[in-house]
């Protein structure tokens, strides 16, 4: 029986390494004396960003005194808002209907955007459509749609189809079509190539590869992204309501104009509540659908 070796002096490795240090420093100069440029570059970028920020603050006439002066007014609003109230029964019914309308706008807009973006995502993914021209054109197309904000799309659609929720649905659909197209195509491009190789190697064609290798991998990611957008669109639908695209935003902007602060407070709380509920429900749904795996959003 061999006696167990004595406990290692913990610094054998360290002593050895320190003895070797001069020789190692000669053998690997770039590691022991790295060029200072990289670090300088990092510092320069940070300094540049900081400078830009200061310049922007100065240019945009940023003023602490006006913030302090305004804070008092903010306090006034809060006192006017308290206690929140829904006015009368008829108005409560109106508000709840408007809330339902907002949810419907968000739901329908997101769903339609996802349906239209689904094929577009494949078209714009370089590992699905190998043709560079198709790839570039579809990418630029999605980019230009995305360049216009939901609010601007709402103003455009209001002029096309008139005031009301229909314009809201179209606005969310258009802007999210651009976003989903890009997200879907990037999700496709980040997929594991091995599954696709397996299908191709057994004689499958391009459509087989998409159906059996790509879609099963990508569906949970798409689903999760769509749910996340539904959440955020509930908020967007409120905002576009303010410019006249229907829903609770329209009612909210009316009440603000009429200085009905208790009712404004009630509406804000209502929106908060519904957004929190959707947030909870959708994160439950996401988890149950995709399991515990992490999903990235871009």
């Amino acid at each position: 029986m061999k006696p167990a070796s004595p406990p290692a002096p913990p610094d054998v490795l360290r002593t050895q390494a320190l003895q070797q240090r001069p020789a190692l420093a000669v053998a690997y100069p770039q590691i022991f004396a790295p060029s200072p440029w990289r670090r300088l570059l990092t510092l320069a970028i940070i300094a540049g960003a900081l400078g830009l920020m200061i310049f922007a603050v100065w240019q945009l006439d940023f003023s602490w005194s006006r913030i302090w002066g305004g804070i008092g007014k903010l306090g006034d609003f809060v006192t006017h808002m308290f206690p929140p109230s829904y006015g009368n029964e008829a108005r409560l019914v109106l508000y709840l209907k408007a809330l339902g309308e907002t949810l419907a706008i968000a739901f329908l807009g997101t769903l339609l955007a996802a349906i239209f973006a689904f094929p577009m995502g494949f078209l714009a993914a370089s590992n699905v459509v190998a043709n560079r021209l198709v790839h570039i054109l579809s990418r630029r197309f999605l980019d230009s749609i995305r360049a216009v904000d939901t609010l601007i799309w709402a103003l455009i659609w209001i002029n096309v189809v008139g005031l009301g929720p229909f314009a809201g649905v179209l606005a969310i659909m258009t802007s999210d079509f651009g976003a989903f197209g890009k997200l879907f195509s990037e999700a496709l491009e980040n997929l594991d190539r091995k599954a696709g190789e397996g299908v191709t190697s057994s004689g499958g064609n391009a459509l087989h590869r998409i159906r059996f290798a790509l879609i099963p991998q990508v569906i949970p990611i798409f689903f999760s992204q769509v749910l996340y957008y539904f959440e955020s669109n509930t908020r967007s639908a409120t905002i576009i309501g303010i410019v006249g695209a229907g829903g609770i935003g329209s009612v909210l902007s009316e009440r603000i104009r009429e200085n009905e602060w208790p009712e404004v407070a009630f509406l804000v709380l209502l929106i908060l509540l519904i957004v929190a509920i959707i947030d909870q429900v959708s994160s439950r749904l996401r988890l149950s659908f995709i399991g515990q795996r992490n999903v990235t959003f871009s």
């Binding site: 061999k2 167990a4 913990p10 320190l18 070797q20 420093a25 022991f32």
Partner: protein, 268 residues
């Protein structure tokens, strides 16, 4: 001396490790064998406290390490380095930084976060890489390396922790035969040269017989064998592995160098 004292780990109703007791003196090269799902990984991971035992204690030189928390726990983890089947490197970082991760518990937090490594730490990391012939790859991204090279980076990371124990969880399961030998030789070298106690989960009986001083056999979470490799008869192997026994006992692999370097046995 590392003492595992009646340790049990339950997932739901099922015991992954069932009332396991083991005493490991310093300096041994212990192979933990058994079929997949026998509880080998869970046992190793509980020693590093990556998983918490449901019952029982683990003692190191009389100190209860299952009760550690905070800095004391981090110090313990630093002293029992782990290497993994899938290497567990940060793919997007270069090899050198991956190895320096093993120094984190030795370096002041702010210096480490700013990645301002001292020349001594660099020397320790490079010297560890140099031992496994991969120092020239130091500034490459970890994911650009082959599996065998990545596992050597992981061993270097473990080594610069200046550990007393090395816990290797199926370190060669994703490697080809040549790299299997390189990695097992590296573990043997760490054990013999630095006197670091090695606990290594292995699926292959032949590797276990070739490299280990002592074999611990697990089946269904229980320790069913604990003796020198010579005592592992066909009969015991069949008990451990069932029908798989013939699969895990072919293709002998010999370590580098002469048979004279081979470890003498240590009785349990």
């Amino acid at each position: 001396m590392l003492v595992i004292d009646k340790v049990t780990k339950r997932y739901g109703g099922k015991a992954a490790v069932d009332n396991a007791s083991l005493e490991i003196p310093h300096g041994q090269f212990v192979g933990v064998i058994g079929r997949s799902g026998a509880g080998k990984s869970t046992l190793l991971r509980m020693i590093n406290r990556l998983q918490e035992p449901s019952e029982g204690r683990i003692l190191h030189d009389g100190r209860d390490i299952t009760a550690l928390s905070g800095q004391a726990l981090r110090d313990w983890r630093q002293s029992c380095a782990m290497i993994f089947q899938q290497f567990n490197l940060v793919d997007r970082l270069d090899v050198l930084t991956n190895v320096l991760v093993g120094r984190l518990n030795h370096v002041p937090a702010l210096r480490a976060l700013a990645r301002m490594w001292s020349q001594d730490d660099l020397a320790i990391a490079m010297s560890a890489l140099d031992q496994f012939d991969i120092a020239p790859l130091a500034s490459q991204r970890a994911d650009s390396l082959s599996g065998g090279q990545q596992q050597r980076v992981a061993i270097a990371r473990a080594l610069v922790q200046e550990p007393q124990f090395l816990l290797a969880d199926e370190p060669i399961a994703s490697l080809d035969p040549r790299n299997t030998r390189i990695v097992m030789d590296a573990l043997l070298r760490i054990n013999r040269h630095y006197g670091i106690t090695v606990l290594c989960n292995l699926h292959s009986l032949d590797l276990a017989r070739t490299y280990c001083d002592r074999l611990v056999g697990m089946a269904q979470g229980r320790i069913v064998f604990d003796d020198v490799p010579q005592a592992l008869t066909q009969h015991v192997a069949r008990e451990l592995y069932g029908l798989e026994a013939d699969d895990v006992m072919d293709s002998p692999v010999t370590p580098e160098g002469s048979a004279a370097e081979l470890p003498d046995a240590v009785t349990a």
